[in-house]
Structures are given as structure tokens and as C-alpha cells.
């Protein structure tokens, strides 16, 4: 079985290194084919690993001793257990599909080979993150995916906005990673090891205050990676990257790493319910907060990005409340339908010449029916309507919130669900139905390549039926994760489900009705609330004035006063001395090889004399 583990882990690396050879060359379909093949190989290996894990077998390998210095001993090991294998299958499946999809999407891009290098490198980093058996390996993968995310957001680096967005994502993640790094140091200080097994085995004997601190610090890291408030701004800007990247990294896999971290460290978090409560509260807040921003946005990809944020909030609620397997389940279903949604958006962009404003679309259904159907399926799944995948996972989260007695959280999530339904169908209605605005603007949309649609089909099917695997999934994951018991009665549960479902369906119908008749009037755009939402609660502006400006002034001061006056002066002085010496010794460099050889022999003689006459002891 170890064989499969190594194949699953290193196949993407091989693909990445292979296509790396071609990055400087012209478009070469071979790179895409090879990377796709290797990712599929990785997926198949993951599936076989899942089968092995299913038959109660946990694969734990120690590949090598990575660092062994003094007391510090960091073995580099990988573990495939019930949690990580779910992530592995999800990651490799979505990435394989995205990779194949990109063969169509990136067809005419000049960075074709580079793109596949990055994607495969990302998958490799993500697998390290997921499969590592210690916090350091996780952190390495964590930073690796951050790097790949940076590279892919700034993929079209000649665009200012893209490179700015890449930098923003990178820097914001580093800020959050600082928290995580401190958490890791604290762990090592307390436990003397980074390995999950060791840490969780000894966690009982640690001061609860320290555990709380560790939990909070780790959560800060998770916040950064999962773009929770207040680190949320980078995710929306990250939409500058190619759409397959948004689908893979910024919807399905990387941003869920934060949730994965919480689930991984569930043994730690379940000891400190206060921290869990904080997480849940923040998650609930973000769920509503992000959804509200999605309500009014006109950018196709940003709407979906905010939706992602909101769904991540749901996951954090579940994770915070201790319903880890539910969080993981939602993570998985979300990966399916959200990547489908993004890839559908990619098809639309492809058809509309990279136009993102949904006001300029409308009535695209006739032009691209298959994409429309797939996106509708994904939207329904996102809204959580029976029997689509989202219904099962999301409803479970709402139930969990209600169960814990956190009614305000439940209420927030309830409202969030309504908002989700609204913005999803606003998107569908404005893009695919209504007036054909694009005709006035001179677009000629068309359906994309058939093989691209075929690759989307698995995602569509999974978005539809994944929910029915709820019980096997629960059985599978709770072998490792703690069980979550609902304490309320069956009637209450049915009532809750009925309430939520009715509410959501009503909102959907209302939205369809409203936008079917032309949508809201222009007047609504002057409302203060609309302006507030439109400007994303002015948070980017606040960041700019509160953080960027003072930091700029400080940096300028450091540059003008400290750097130029003191450091540069010292450096220049050394350089001047060297330069003068060089001027003097220039005569030695006559450029004649013979003279140089003579000097070389002089050096040899001096060294030999030193070797003979110099005795260190004397």
C-alpha cells in the first residue's frame, strides 16, 4: 500500500517537473496530457488507498529524517487515515478535472506549459499538506500551496491588477501564517514534537490556558488560509487568476485547508470549547457577512467567491461546534458544486471574451444550454435543496447549530441560507435568462469544446448524488473523528428541515419571479445599505487608510533616514576601500595568462609554506 501512497504523492511532482522543462517553450499539448495523466494516476491511487483505509487499515510511513540537529528531530512521515484520504480523493479528483478542463480553457494562452507546471506543483503541495503526519509537514504544504496560489493568481503577471492581487494574497497569508507559526512553536515548546500522535497523546497534561492559546493561534493561521474575516479581502481579489485556478484553489481545495487544520487538530480543539465557540461565531458572522456582499455584486466570479467565503463560514461553524465530520462532509460536497460553478463561470467567460459583468449578459441559455444546466444544478446544490448534495451537508450544519443551543448562530445561518438562495438564482437568472443584453454589446457567445463539457459531467453528477453518501461517510470518518450526537427529537429535526427547505425554496421562487420580470429597479442602488454592500462594507478602504498609509509613511522614513544615511553609507565605505585597493592591485591583472599562472604559483607556495610552518598550537 505504501507504493500507492508514494505514487499518489509524487505523481503530481513528476508531472510538474516534467512540464517545468517546457515552460520557456511554445505551447505543447504533451505537458497538459502528461500532467493530466499523472493527476489521474494520483486520483486512482487515492481511490485504492481509500479502499484500503475503508477496510480498517491506516497507512503510516516514515519517509526520511528531515532535520536532525541536536534535540530537534523532525522525521518526515506521511499518514493516510480516514480524514486525509477523503481530502486526497477530493483534491485529486477536482484537480484532475480542472487540469483536463484547462486544456480547453487555456488553449490559446501563451503561458500554457507554465500553467500546468503550477497546477501540478499545487496538487503536490496540497497532498503534502493533507498527508503529512506532523505539523511541520503540514506547514510546508501550507506554504507550498500559498506559493502556488500566489503564482497562479499572478499568472497573467503583465496585468497590474493580477500581480497586485497575487501580492495581496501572499502578504495577507503571511500575516496569518505568523500566528500559525507561533502556534507551532508553542506546540514544540510544550510537547517537544510536531507529530500528531505525540501531540494529541500528551494534550491532556497541558495547562488549558496554553491549549487555548495554541488553538487560537492555529485558528489565526486557518483564518488567513480560509479567508475569514478580517483576512477575507484577498479571496475576492484572487479572482484575477485564471478561472480553473479559482475553481481548484480558491474554491475547492486550498481555502478549505483552514477547515482541514481544525479537523486535523480536532483532538486539540475539542479540549477547549471556548475556542470552538469563537470559531463558530466567527464562521456564522462570515457566512452572513460574505453572503450579504454577494447579494449586490455584479462581477460573476466575485459573487461565487463571496459565496465560497460564506460556505467556508458554514464549515467553520460546524468545525467550531465539534461536528467535525459534518464540516468535512460539507467541505467535500462544497468542493464538487463550487468547482462546478466556477468552471461553468469559466465557460461563460470563454464565451463572452472574458467579460465578467453579469449585467452585460442575460439570455445565454440559448447559446450555451449545457453549461446553463450544469450551473443550475450546482446552484441548486449550493442552495441546499433536496435531493442535491448541498442539502444534506448544509442542513446538518444548521441542525448542529440548533442542537448546541446556539440559536443566534442558527439564526444567522438561516438568514445566510436565504441569502445564498437569492444570490445564486440572481446569478442564474441574470446570466442565462432575461434580455439578451450581450447582443447589443456585440458578443457572440458559443458553447465551449465538447470534451470540456464531458469533464464537467462527473462534477455535475457528484453535486447531485453526493449527499446520499451521508451515512457511509459518517460511519467512515467517525472511526477517527469524534462522533456528534444530536440531542433533539426527531420531530424537531423534521420541523427544522421543513422550515429551512421551505424558506429556501420560497426565496428561490421569489428570486426567479422577480428577475423573470426584469429585476429590481435602478432606485435600489441609491439605498445606503446597497452602497455599503457594494463597497464591501468599506473594509478595503479602511485597510488602506488604517494600515497601508501609515505603513507606507513608516517605510519611507526607514528608507530615507535609516537605510540611505546609515546602512548605505557603511556599505559604500567598504566598497570604496575595496575599490581603491582594486585600483592599486590592477597591475597584477595584466590579462596575460602566463602572469596569472605565476601569481597562482606564488599563492601555492605561500599556502605550502603556511602548511609547513604554521602550527595551530604554537
Amino acid at each position: 500500500m505504501e507504493k500507492y501512497l508514494y505514487v499518489a504523492l509524487f505523481a503530481p511532482l513528476v508531472g510538474s517537473l516534467f512540464s517545468l522543462l517546457f515552460t520557456a517553450q511554445k505551447k505543447n499539448v504533451i505537458t497538459a496530457l502528461v500532467t493530466s495523466g499523472l493527476l489521474l494516476l494520483s486520483f486512482v491511487s487515492s481511490l485504492s488507498l481509500m479502499y484500503a483505509v475503508h477496510s480498517d487499515m491506516i497507512i503510516h510511513v516514515k519517509m526520511m529524517d528531515w532535520i536532525s540537529a541536536g534535540n530537534l528531530n523532525l522525521p518526515f512521515g506521511f499518514v493516510v487515515d480516514n480524514v486525509s484520504v477523503v481530502m486526497m480523493v477530493t483534491v485529486t479528483l477536482v484537480s484532475s478535472i480542472v487540469n483536463i478542463y484547462s486544456m480547453g480553457y487555456m488553449m490559446h494562452d501563451k503561458g500554457y506549459n507554465r500553467f500546468f507546471t503550477y497546477i501540478s506543483a499545487f496538487v503536490f503541495s496540497m497532498l503534502i499538506l493533507v498527508m503529512s503526519d506532523n505539523f511541520i509537514g503540514l506547514f510546508i504544504g501550507w506554504e507550498g500551496v500559498g506559493l502556488c496560489s500566489y503564482l497562479l493568481i499572478g499568472f497573467w503577471y503583465e496585468k497590474d491588477t493580477a500581480s497586485w492581487a497575487g501580492n495581496e494574497a501572499f502578504i495577507m497569508n503571511r500575516v496569518a501564517d505568523l500566528g500559525m507559526l507561533m502556534g507551532l512553536f508553542l506546540i514544540y515548546w510544550q510537547f517537544g514534537s510536531f507529530e500528531y500522535d505525540v501531540v494529541f497523546a500528551h494534550i491532556g497534561g497541558i495547562n488549558p490556558a496554553v491549549v487555548t492559546t495554541i488553538g487560537l493561534l492555529l485558528f489565526i493561521g486557518a483564518m488567513g488560509k480560509s479567508a475569514q474575516f478580517p483576512f477575507h479581502t484577498w479571496l475576492a481579489d484572487a479572482m484575477e487568476g485564471p478561472t480553473p485556478v479559482s475553481a481548484l484553489i480558491h474554491a475547492a481545495t486550498m481555502v478549505t485547508a483552514g477547515v482541514y487544520l481544525i479537523i486535523r487538530a480536532s483532538a486539540l480543539f475539542s479540549l477547549v470549547p471556548e475556542v470552538g465557540h469563537v470559531i463558530a461565531t466567527l464562521g456564522a458572522f462570515v457566512a452572513v457577512f460574505a453572503a450579504s456582499m454577494a447579494l449586490v455584486n455584479r462581477d460573476l466570479k466575485r459573487i461565487i467567491a463571496y459565496s465560497t467565503l460564506s460556505q467556508l463560514g458554514y464549515m467553520f461553524v460546524a468545525a467550531g461546534l465539534g461536528a467535525y465530520w459534518i464540516a468535512l462532509f460539507h467541505l467535500m460536497t462544497h468542493a464538487f458544486f463550487k468547482s462546478l460553478l466556477f468552471l461553468g463561470a469559466g465557460n461563460i467567460m470563454h464565451a463572452m471574451d472574458d467579460e465578467l459583468d453579469i449585467k452585460k449578459m442575460g439570455g445565454l441559455f440559448n447559446a450555451m444550454p449545457y453549461t446553463a444546466i450544469l450551473m443550475a444544478v450546482a446552484s441548486v446544490a449550493l442552495c441546499g435543496i433536496y435531493p442535491f448534495a448541498g442539502y444534506f451537508s448544509k442542513d446538518m450544519i444548521l441542525a448542529a447549530a440548533f442542537n448546541g443551543g446556539n440559536y443566534y448562530i442558527w439564526a444567522a445561518l438561516f438568514i445566510g441560507a436565504g441569502m445564498t438562495a437569492f444570490y445564486s438564482f440572481r446569478l442564474i437568472m441574470m446570466v442565462f435568462f432575461g434580455d439578451k443584453v450581450y447582443k447589443k454589446l456585440g458578443f457572440h457567445p458559443h458553447e465551449t469544446y465538447p470534451f470540456v463539457l464531458w469533464t464537467l459531467l462527473p462534477l455535475g453528477i457528484l453535486s447531485t448524488i453526493a449527499g446520499f453518501f451521508e451515512h457511509p461517510f459518517e460511519e467512515f470518518t467517525t472511526r477517527l473523528l469524534s462522533k456528534y450526537d444530536f440531542s433533539f427529537s426527531h420531530t424537531t429535526e423534521i420541523g427544522l428541515i421543513f422550515l429551512t427547505l421551505t424558506f429556501v425554496i420560497l426565496v428561490v421562487l421569489a428570486t426567479i419571479y422577480k428577475y423573470g420580470r426584469g429585476g429590481f429597479s435602478k432606485q435600489i442602488e441609491t439605498m445606503p445599505l446597497y452602497i455599503l454592500l457594494k463597497n464591501q462594507y468599506f473594509i478595503p478602504k479602511i485597510y488602506e487608510t488604517m494600515i497601508f498609509r501609515p505603513y507606507y509613511v513608516l517605510s519611507r522614513f526607514a528608507w530615507k533616514q535609516i537605510d540611505v544615511r546609515i546602512i548605505d553609507f557603511t556599505v559604500d565605505l567598504i566598497a570604496k576601500i575595496l575599490y581603491l585597493l582594486g585600483q592599486r592591485s590592477r597591475k597584477m591583472q595584466s590579462g596575460n595568462l602566463s602572469d596569472m599562472l605565476r601569481w597562482m604559483v606564488v599563492g601555492i607556495v605561500v599556502l605550502l609554506a603556511l602548511a609547513i610552518f604554521y602550527r595551530p598550537g604554537m
Partner: protein, 180 residues
Amino acid sequence: MFEVIAFYMFSILVIGMFLIVVFSKNALYSMSALAGGMIFISGFFFLLDADFLGVVQIIVYTGAIMAVYAFGMMFFDTTRDVKENIRFKKIIYGLSILSAIFLIFILLAPVYSGKIEALYPSIQGVGNIQMIGLILFTKYLVPFELAAIMLLAAMISGIVLVKIKMEETPTDIEVARGEK
């Protein structure tokens, strides 16, 4: 007895040959003398029970390296004496003698301090070649492979550096001229 005679004979021959190499004005003399010196050096290796090394010295140094030098010399006019303006002769000889003396001191230092120990002692009754093979393919396997790669790289670079239309055979030239 024979060893002593052989040692002094070979020493005189080698030193003489190498002096010719260094002081001769004609490149052809130098080349021939160097090739001769190489062969005589292999005599030392036979004296030192390093049969394999001796034969390798002849085959590689004399048979390949010097032959390649000779082949290279065919590009130049070798029969002509080369005029060289040599400056600071005293410095040259001073430096050489100094370095030789120091070098001998350094080489002799461990002999007199007697500190070196055999890492891979040769086993009685096992032939020189077998021993070399054993060591070369166990302890020194990686350097051996590296040397192989280095030789390959050197060969390719040598070909690339010197080649001019090497891929054209007379047939190609005929085709290019339209005779075929």
C-alpha cells in the same frame, strides 16, 4: 637489486623526457617526449605492484590522451619552432624550486610522523585488479559514476566545440551539388 636499477633507470628516463617536454622549442619533440615519459611512468606503476594502473596509464594516457593531443597538433604547424619571449626567468625557477621543496616536505610529513593508517588494506592473495574492482564498485561507486558522466560531458563538449558541418557525408555533398 633489480628494483633499484629499474627505479633509477626509469627515474632518469622520465626526468629526461619531461625536461625535453619543458625545454624543447619544437612542439613535436615535446609531444613525443611526453608520450615516452608517460610510458616510462607506467614502469613505476608496474614496480609498485599496480599492474592495472600501469596498463591503464599506457592505454589511456599514451593511447588516448596523447594521441588526441597529436591529432590536435595536426591543426597547427608543428614542424616550425615557436618563438616565445620569456621574462623573469629567475622568478620562474625560484618559484618552481621553492614549490618543489615545500611539496616534498609536505608529502614527507606523514611518512615521518607515521600517522596514516590504511583505510582499505590490500588483502594478500587477492589480485590487484579484483581489489580495485571491489573498492571501485563499493566505496567509490558514486565518484566512479560521476567520472563517467564527466567524461561523457567532456566528450560531447569537445565534439561540439570542434565540429564544422560534421554531419555532412560525401553523399550529402553530392546531393547538395545536384549530382545525384
